[in-house]
C-alpha cells in the first residue's frame, strides 16, 4: 500500500499502532484515505454518469429518472400458484417479474421423468410446455411488464415460450422486455444446471443472442453472472474476473458468426451477488463498469457508447444469510440493498430472511420488498447520482478492486480462456479453495458472522413458519402433462422435433426451430432429448 505525507502526518500523531484491515474478500483497506489517494484524471477514470468509462453509472440520470427495478425472484409449485404470487408481488409495488424454475425444468426433464421425482415444483415453477407458460402469465400483459428468467441450459426453450405467449396476447416480439440468464459457463462451475458440454452450449447461447438482436430489440438475451461464483465461495475480485472472462467467451462466439460488436453488445447484461461489506460491494460495481467499458472499446473497437455501458442486476442475500437467529438477515439484506444502490445497480432482488430454511413465504418476501422500498423512498438514495463518487477511500478501493480482478483475468487468458479453465476444473478448484478458507476463518472466529460464530444464542427459529411444499401438486402437474400429450397434434410435434434435430447437426440458428417445436406444444424434455442426442452431455470434473 503506497503511503503519502498526509496519512504519515496522521499516523505519526497517533499514540496507537494501526494494523491494516481487509475487506471481506481480503483487499487491504486504507485506514485513512486522503486526497493523494485519488488517482487519475476525472475524465479518464470516472467520467460523468452515462459517459465513458461509466464508473459513475451507465445512464446520465440513474435513479433521478427512476429507482432501480425491484425484482423479487419468485416461482414455486404449479404455474397456477406462481401466477397468483406474481399478481401478489405486483399489487404490492414490485416493478418487474423474475421467474424461478424448478430443477427439472432447468435441466430439461419433464415432470414425469423418473429423475424429476421429488423435485417437481420445489425450487421454482414446473414448466413442461407452452401451456404452462401461458398459465404463468395469465392476465399479465407482457407489453407492460419486464420479466427476468433465471434459466440457462433450457433458456432457448423458455425464451421461445415467452415469445409464443406474447404472440397469443398480440404482443409482438419487438415489444417484449426482459432478460434470460442464458449463461452456461458459470453453471459448469457453480449452481450445476448443465446439460450439454461447454462448446455446444456456447453455440446455443450465440444463437439466442443473435436471434434477439434481430427480433427482440428490447430483450436482454443473456445476463452474464458472477453471482453464482461468489455464492460458491469466490471473492469479490474473482467474481468480477470470472464474469468478464465469461463475457469474453460469449462475445467472441458471437463475433465469430460475423455479427458486429455494436449489433449485440448493448443488450448484454450482468448479474452479481451483493454481500454485507458495503464499501467493497460499491467499489466492485464501479470497478466492473470501468473494466467492461475499456474492454469493449479497446479490445473489440466498439463505437456505440451503449455497447460499453455496463448494466447489471443484483441479488442480496444468498450465502451471506444464515440459519441461526434468522431475523438478523433482515438487517444484512438492508445493508446489501444500500450497497447495491451505492454501486448503481439497475435491478435488485432482496432475499427474504427465512431463505436459509426454505423458499420464502408471501409475508417474508413482502418484507424483503419493503426493505428495498424503504431504501429507495425514505433513505435518500435516489436523490443524487453516485453519491460516493470522488470519495478518496472509495475511489482507491475501486482502483484496488480493478487491479486485482485484472490480474485474475490475465491469468485466465494465459491459461487459454474460461472454456479450458472450466473443462479442466481450474476455476472450480480456485473457488473451492476460497470457500474452504472462508469456512476455516469462520470456524476460528477470524471472520465474524453475528449470531452464528459470535453472540450466538438459542434463536427461536423453530417458531418460523416456513414455506410448505405441497407434494400432491406434483401429481396434478403430471396428469396435466399426460393430458397435453394426448390432445396435441403428434404429427406437428414429431415434424418440429425432426427439423430441430437436423438443424442441430448443421450450423443454422436453432431459435426458429425451437420456437416451432414450442408452438407445437413439444415438451421441454422432448426438445432437450433431441438436442442431447446431437450435442451429448457435460461430464463434471469431480474433486474435493
Amino acid at each position: 500500500m503506497t503511503d503519502n505525507p498526509t496519512r504519515d502526518r496522521w499516523r505519526k500523531n497517533l499514540n496507537v499502532e494501526i494494523t491494516v484491515r481487509r475487506t471481506s474478500s481480503g483487499l487491504p483497506v486504507l485506514p485513512l484515505a486522503t486526497p493523494e489517494d485519488l488517482a487519475g484524471a476525472y475524465e479518464d477514470n470516472l467520467g460523468n454518469p452515462g459517459e465513458f468509462p461509466y464508473t459513475r453509472g451507465p445512464y446520465p440520470t440513474m435513479y433521478l429518472s427512476r429507482p432501480w427495478t425491484m425484482r423479487q425472484y419468485a416461482g414455486f409449485g404449479t404455474p397456477e400458484e406462481t401466477n397468483i404470487r406474481y399478481k401478489y408481488l405486483m399489487e404490492h409495488g414490485g416493478t418487474g417479474l423474475s421467474v424461478a424454475f424448478d430443477l427439472p425444468s432447468q435441466i430439461g426433464l419433464d415432470s414425469d421423468d423418473p429423475m424429476a421425482e421429488d423435485e417437481v415444483g420445489r425450487v421454482g415453477v414446473a414448466i413442461d410446455s407452452l401451456e404452462d407458460m401461458e398459465t404463468v402469465f395469465k392476465d399479465i400483459d407482457l407489453s407492460k411488464v419486464s420479466t427476468s428468467f433465471t434459466i440457462n441450459a433450457t433458456a432457448a426453450i423458455m425464451l421461445a415460450m415467452y415469445i409464443a405467449v406474447g404472440e397469443k396476447q398480440a404482443v409482438p416480439p419487438q415489444k417484449l422486455r426482459g432478460t434470460i440468464q442464458n449463461d452456461m459457463l458459470k453453471e459448469f462451475v457453480a449452481r450445476g444446471t448443465w446439460i450439454f458440454p461447454p462448446r455446444p452450449s456456447l453455440r446455443l447461447i450465440a444463437d439466442s443472442i443473435i436471434y434477439c438482436s434481430e427480433h427482440l430489440p428490447r430483450f436482454n438475451p443473456i445476463s452474464i453472472a458472477g453471482a453464482h461464483f461468489r455464492d460458491a465461495g469466490a471473492t469479490a475480485m474473482q467474481e468480477i474476473a470470472f464474469t468478464l472472462a465469461d463475457a469474453v467467451e460469449y462475445v467472441q462466439s458471437v463475433l465469430e458468426r460475423g455479427i458486429k460488436i455494436d449489433e449485440f453488445a448493448p443488450r448484454l447484461s450482468f448479474f452479481f451477488y451483493t454481500y454485507t461489506d458495503i464499501f467493497e460491494e460499491a467499489a466492485k460495481y464501479r470497478a466492473a463498469r470501468r473494466m467492461w467499458a475499456r474492454l469493449v472499446k479497446e479490445r473489440w473497437d466498439a463505437q456505440d457508447e451503449k455497447s460499453m455501458a455496463f448494466r447489471f442486476g443484483v441479488v442480496c442475500g444468498g450465502a451471506s444469510l444464515c440459519a441461526p437467529e434468522p431475523m438478523n438477515n433482515i438487517v444484512r439484506v438492508a445493508y446489501q440493498v444500500l450497497a447495491s444502490a451505492l454501486g448503481g445497480a439497475q435491478s435488485v432482488f432482496s432475499c427474504a430472511y427465512d431463505e436459509a430454511y426454505a423458499l420464502p413465504t408471501a409475508e417474508t418476501t413482502r418484507l424483503a420488498l419493503r426493505t428495498q422500498q424503504v431504501c429507495a423512498e425514505e433513505a435518500g438514495l435516489t436523490n443524487t447520482v453516485d453519491p460516493l463518487g470522488g470519495s478518496w477511500f472509495l475511489e482507491s478501493l475501486t482502483d484496488a478492486m480493478e487491479e486485482q480482478a485484472g490480474k485474475t483475468m490475465d491469468k485466465i487468458a494465459e491459461l487459454g480462456g474460461m472454456v479450458p479453465c472450466i473443462e479442466k476444473g481450474i476455476v472450480q478448484k480456485w473457488i473451492a479453495e476460497e470457500a474452504y478458507q472462508t469456512e476455516l476463518k469462520l470456524h476460528r472466529g477470524e471472520k465474524v458472522w453475528v449470531g452464528v460464530n459470535k453472540y450466538r444464542t438459542e434463536d427461536g427459529s423453530d417458531r418460523l413458519i416456513v414455506h410448505h411444499h405441497d407434494r400432491n401438486k406434483a401429481s396434478d402437474k403430471i396428469s396435466k402433462l399426460k393430458k397435453l400429450r394426448k390432445e396435441r397434434s403428434t404429427e406437428r410435434v414429431r415434424k418440429s422435433l425432426d427439423a430441430l434435430k437436423q438443424a442441430c447437426e448443421g450450423d443454422e440458428n436453432l431459435m426458429p426451430y425451437v420456437l416451432e417445436a414450442v408452438k407445437a406444444y413439444a415438451t421441454v424434455g422432448e426438445i432437450n432429448s433431441v438436442m442431447k442426442e446431437v450435442f451429448g452431455e457435460f461430464k463434471e470434473p469431480v474433486f474435493i
Binding site: 429423475m115 444464515c322 430454511y357 452464528v452 418460523l464 469431480v542 474435493i544
Partner: protein, 131 residues
Amino acid sequence: MKQGGPSRILIAKPGLDGHDRGAKVIARYLRDAGFEVIYMGLRQTPEKIAATADQEDVDVVGLSILSGAHLPLTEKVKKELCSRGLEVKLMVGGTIPRSEVEELKAAGADAVFSTGTDLDEILEYVKNLLS
C-alpha cells in the same frame, strides 16, 4: 465396521440440486482430519449412492441437499442402504427447516446438520461414531 486403516466416508449430492459448496467443504475438512473421503459429484441417484457405499466399504454416508427435497431423498437412500444390508450411519446437511429435523430423522437420518453448523460439530459427530 472394518478393522485397521482410516475410516471411510462417502459424501454425495442426491437429486438435481447443484449447490456443492457445503459438500466440498465438509469433504475436505473430514479428509484433512484423517478420514478417507469419497465425493461423488452432482446428480447422484439413491441406488448409485448405496452401490458406491457398498463397493467402497464406507462407514458413514453424508448427503447434502439444498433443494428442499431432503425428506423423500433421504428416505430413498436409507431404503437402498438397507436393501444392501449396509449398517452405515447417514448424516444429512443443507437447507432444512427446524420443523422437519425430527421427520428427517424418522426418514432415516442419524444426524442432521443445517446451515450455520460449525465444522467441528460434524467432525466430533463422525469421530464419536467411529470411536
